[in-house]
């Protein structure tokens, strides 16, 4: 075997200046995003598995439990549950982020990136961009299935697009939670245990049941859950039934569907970046 390395590239001239740095931060981010998108293309089954839970839930709640669910006078449970399902899928998405981060960390890929002259921010920003793109694909598939089973957004195109934007905003905010947890997790098994945290986070909310029907303390918790804010805001934008408890938080779902994700990002983005930088400690 010949190991000749002809036309050996020499280290490039200094790419320091602020302009070059920004250019490479974006270019490296895009390289990482392309890697993640290639994963999606090569493993369509992965997308199918990750969508399996919400899709099965859609079918169960519409066809199995739906007839027994009474969320309000003359309200179709399908129209109530579907936007909730979208919000829940976005909320659970942080586990996919955490798993991807822990797999790269375990396999040494993160260390390889860190020992390369690339912009180190790209490891985190690339993850963020590709997870949002992945989430958009998830939403498209779910919306298509929802339309097939008879769900309809009744308020027109632009409110519907705004609703999808709010859903992606929630997913975006939770990316940093996922990155942080992925960096903290010891291995894939412990990252898998995050479902124990994610499940109540997704369920103790207005996703399947109006909080007003829950015991008081639990209902309050559910109302203030960021997932509920997004679920209720998108119900409003889709023209679907919104649970009316009359509380302040429920009256201001649209506002909170923006405030909550921004607050989560403000807290967890710096924590995730700090944790990433501290890998060298």
């Amino acid at each position: 075997m010949s190991t000749a390395t002809h036309s050996v590239p020499v280290p490039l001239p200094a790419d320091d200046g602020a302009g070059r740095r920004l250019y490479w931060a974006v270019a490296d981010c895009w390289t990482i995003v392309r890697r993640d998108l290639t994963h999606l293309v090569k493993q369509p089954s992965l997308v199918a598995w990750q969508l399996g839970f919400p899709i099965v839930s859609v079918l169960l709640f519409v066809y199995v439990f739906g007839s027994a669910m009474e969320v309000g006078e003359g309200v179709s449970y399908k129209d109530y549950a579907m936007p909730g399902m979208f919000a829940m899928t976005m909320a659970f998405g942080f586990m996919n982020t955490a798993m991807a981060v822990v797999v790269d960390k375990e396999r040494g890929v993160t260390d390889r990136f860190r020992a390369m002259p690339m912009a180190s921010s790209a490891v985190v920003t690339g993850r963020g961009v590709s997870d949002v793109l992945h989430a958009a694909l998830d939403l498209a598939v779910m919306a298509a299935i929802a339309l097939v089973v008879g769900w309809r957004p009744d308020d027109g195109l632009f409110p519907a697009l705004a609703a999808f934007a709010l859903l992606l905003l929630l997913r975006f905010a939770l990316i940093w939670v996922g990155v942080l947890l992925g960096l903290l997790a010891k291995n894939q098994e412990s990252a898998g245990n995050l479902f124990a945290v994610a499940f109540p986070f997704g369920m103790i909310s207005s996703v399947f049941t109006p909080p007003s029907l829950m015991p008081d303390w639990l209902g309050t918790l559910a109302m203030w859950n960021p997932v509920s804010a997004t679920a209720n805001a998108v119900r409003d934008l889709f023209g679907n039934p919104v649970p009316g408890g009359g509380s302040w938080i429920e009256e201001h779902a649209l506002l909170m569907a923006v405030v909550w994700p921004l607050a989560l990002t403000a807290v967890f983005l710096p924590l995730a970046v700090r944790r990433f930088q501290r890998l060298g400690r």
Binding site: M1, T31, D111, R112
Partner: protein, 344 residues
């Protein structure tokens, strides 16, 4: 205060590719947990163009040393330059001049081999056309051209490790760090990797190799530093290390127990001055250090023949690096084979 980092071209072209002085790194120690001194004052000086083996048991600090030198971990104290740049202050300059193949085969299992190398090329900031060309060159050079469009998750261990090595060679690094490059490989995979590393060193790449396989350090390294408890114990060439523990020994295995006295007498006649043969009654083994191995071997054969003694085996033993290592780290006895100490 610390001396200023050598960043001038003169420093970069000094005769050492890696210099480390007094590296210290402690993990844990908080909340009553015992602190682990992964590095406890490690010094290294790796001449350019050599293969430098870091040899030590698991937990000796080899991997921490590589992590510090490749900018992945910050040392608590001490100072290190790689390719002329300070690892703490100029990590980006260091990263552009090194390659790292860690204990994990850190390639993407789902991207094809070609896609992996193109991605790494882009991340080393080659333009797209150059990254494509470089990927093809490396696939050819590392004997992976036939598998270029397959996913590494279906590769053999040796192939995956070769792709990993190729990924470390995008910019033809001045210093290549190999952290236990053959751990977990079958014998065929190991020899594939060894051959690849020899090919790289023939082109003048400086290699820092960590291993706990002594035969690997012996076969590949120009110099070996023995590391234990985060400190260097000794440093020498593989041959020098073996000499340091003692020279050749003649060893004779008697055919029957009643021949042992005659065998002892024959071995005693060739033994170095002032040394008596050691005898192991259980295995019928008699051995003694000798000044010059080959003449002693022919002499002892003649003495045995003159005495009319048939033997089961006759040979010359050189200490293995295992023995050197056990001796130096104090983990073993100071006689090569504990069993041979039984009777003298």
């Amino acid at each position: 205060m610390k001396p200023p980092p050598p960043t001038t071209p003169a420093a970069a072209s000094s005769s050492y590719a890696v210099v480390a002085e007094g590296l210290r790194k402690t993990y844990g120690g908080g909340r009553g947990a015992p602190a682990t001194h992964a590095l406890d004052g490690l010094d290294l000086a790796v001449p350019r163009g050599t293969v430098y083996g870091l040899l030590g048991p698991n937990g000796a600090g080899k991997t921490t040393a590589v992590r510090v030198l490749t900018t992945l971990t910050r040392a608590d104290a001490g100072h290190a330059t790689v390719a002329g740049y300070d690892v703490g202050r100029r990590p980006r300059d260091v990263r552009r001049r090194i390659g790292l193949t860690g204990q994990h085969t850190a390639v993407d299992g789902i991207l094809t081999a070609r896609q992996n190398l193109r991605m790494f090329g882009r991340l080393f900031h080659l333009d797209p056309a150059h990254a494509r060309r470089r990927a093809d060159e490396l696939l050819e050079a590392f004997g992976l051209a036939h598998a270029a469009d397959q996913q590494p998750q279906h590769f053999s261990g040796g192939m995956r490790r070769r792709l990993d090595l190729a990924s470390s060679m995008i910019l033809a690094p001045e210093v290549l760090f190999l952290d236990e490059p053959t751990t977990g490989l079958d014998p065929r995979g190991r020899s594939e990797v060894w051959e690849t590393v020899r090919g790289l060193t023939a082109q003048g790449t400086t290699v820092v190799l960590t291993t706990h396989y002594l035969d690997e350090a012996d076969k590949l390294s120009d110099r070996i530093v023995v590391v234990d408890h985060g400190r260097n114990i000794t440093e020498d060439t593989p041959a020098g290390l073996k000499r340091a523990i003692g020279g050749d020994r003649v060893e004779v295995v008697a055919a029957e127990a009643r021949d042992l006295p005659a065998v002892r007498a024959a071995v005693a006649r060739v033994a170095g001055s002032g040394t008596a043969p050691s005898t192991d009654e259980a295995t019928l083994r008699v051995h003694a250090p000798v000044a010059e191995g080959v003449p002693a071997l022919t002499d002892v054969a003649r003495h045995l023949q003159d005495a009319g003694v048939a033997v089961a085996d006759l040979g010359l033993r050189r200490p293995t690096l295992d023995e050197v290592f056990l001796t130096l780290t104090g983990a073993g006895t100071d006689v090569p084979q504990p069993a041979t100490e039984a009777a003298a």
